[in-house]
């Protein structure tokens, strides 16, 4: 069954790599977003006791960590719409694996960075209000890392051939 030349470029096992791409995209971005939410959430819980008026402004790191999960969701949904049961070439399947890995691991790194920066940022802002803008700037740089992963994933998933 795996020896015929007609289907040599789309063997029956080729969907494994595409499916793993979808899975990695969601799992690793979820890990990054969870780490970011939990770490920044701990900081928010700490400062909320002394500065309850700053809670709403301090939810920004949590929102940015949630956006990382959305990057993973978008790429996973895009890839999984392209996976077909048959005539799914190894070319497309490995491209999808690469796309999923890039958004997933970049999202993981970005989420961890957002979490640590958010935690330190909200704790610092509660003591020195002028640090708020600085925290936002650093968070934007961390968020952009996840965006790079999304860009590469989109470039890969729209390749045809």
């Amino acid at each position: 069954m795996s020896m015929d030349l007609e289907h040599a470029d789309s063997p029956p096992y080729s969907s494994f790599f595409g499916v793993m791409g979808v899975t990695f995209a969601m799992i690793f971005s979820a890990l990054g977003a969870s780490y970011g939410t939990a770490k920044a959430g701990t900081g928010i819980s700490c400062i909320s006791v002394v500065r309850p008026d700053l809670i709403m402004k301090s939810i920004i790191p949590v929102v940015m960590a949630g956006i990382i999960a959305i990057y993973g969701l978008v790429v996973a949904a895009l890839i999984s719409n392209d996976i077909k049961p048959k005539d799914y070439t190894l070319f497309k399947s490995f491209t999808h694996l690469g796309a999923g890995l890039s958004v997933g691991l970049c999202g993981l790194a970005a989420g961890v960075a957002i979490g640590m920066v958010g935690d330190a940022g909200v704790r610092g802002t509660s003591q020195q209000p002028r640090l708020f803008v600085g925290m936002i700037l650093v968070l934007i740089f961390a968020e952009v890392l996840g965006l790079y992963g999304l860009i590469v994933a989109l470039i890969l998933s729209t390749k045809s051939g």
């Binding site: 780490y35 006791v49 949904a77």
Partner: protein
């Protein structure tokens, strides 16, 4: 760094050593062909993959829910010593963690509904490739779906647990803080929901059986 002689490190070290020694044995006794990823992907049954997916989906979701519940629960009970009024309101955090386990069981049932027996003996010659591809794709999809929902719920449960613990302790100091920190928890539980969405997307195209 903790002491390397703790039981966890010893177990990990022995497993890694066993794996490495077995691999080197195969290499040096001319049995390198035994590393056969092709066999793993082509000749294992799709039912192995689908059932592994279902099992990991439900069990990892429950591990996440349990982790969240013990993290939040211990904080509620500890903070409740001096502020017993926090007991009932903070059960909401526990329910957020439990929801993660509910997602897992729903997805396990949905995924297992896609499993049907197939009989290669009755396949016609022309559609052998199509049916083989389809059944194998279904097996891999269910594996991926189970892994997605399992790990997403695991991470979501831990996250909601940690934030819920912070919410309980803040609530113990000032009761108006709980609702605001609940917003962070809602962001956390959205992550589990994303995992469920992708998992459903993965199983919608998974079809097992004898019809192409």
């Amino acid at each position: 760094m903790p002491s390397v002689l703790t039981p966890v490190y010893i177990v990990i070290a022995i497993s890694v050593a066993a794996f490495v020694i077995t691999s080197f044995y195969f290499n040096f006794t001319n049995q390198g062909y035994r590393y056969n990823i092709g066999w793993l992907l082509q000749d294992t049954s799709p039912f192995m993959w689908s059932n592994l997916g279902i099992g990991l989906g439900i069990s990892l979701s429950v591990v996440g829910a349990a982790w969240g519940i013990f993290t939040t629960g211990s904080s509620i009970l500890g903070g409740g010593v001096k502020a017993p009024r926090i007991r009932t309101k903070n059960l909401v955090s526990i329910i957020f963690c439990e929801a993660v386990a509910i997602y897992g069981i729903i997805m396990a049932i949905v995924i297992s509904n896609g499993e049907t027996a197939y009989h290669p003996g009755v396949w016609k010659e022309g559609e052998v490739y199509a049916l083989n591809s389809q059944n194998r794709h279904a097996g891999f999809s269910m594996f991926g779906a189970g892994l997605t929902v399992g790990f997403s719920n695991l991470f979501c449960g831990v996250c909601v647990g940690i934030v819920g613990s912070g919410a309980a302790l803040a609530d113990a100091q000032n009761s108006s803080l709980f609702v605001k920190i609940l917003i962070v928890e809602i962001f956390g539980s959205a992550i589990g929901l994303f995992g469920v969405i992708i998992s459903i997307l993965q199983v919608t195209h998974a079809k097992m059986g004898d019809k192409p």
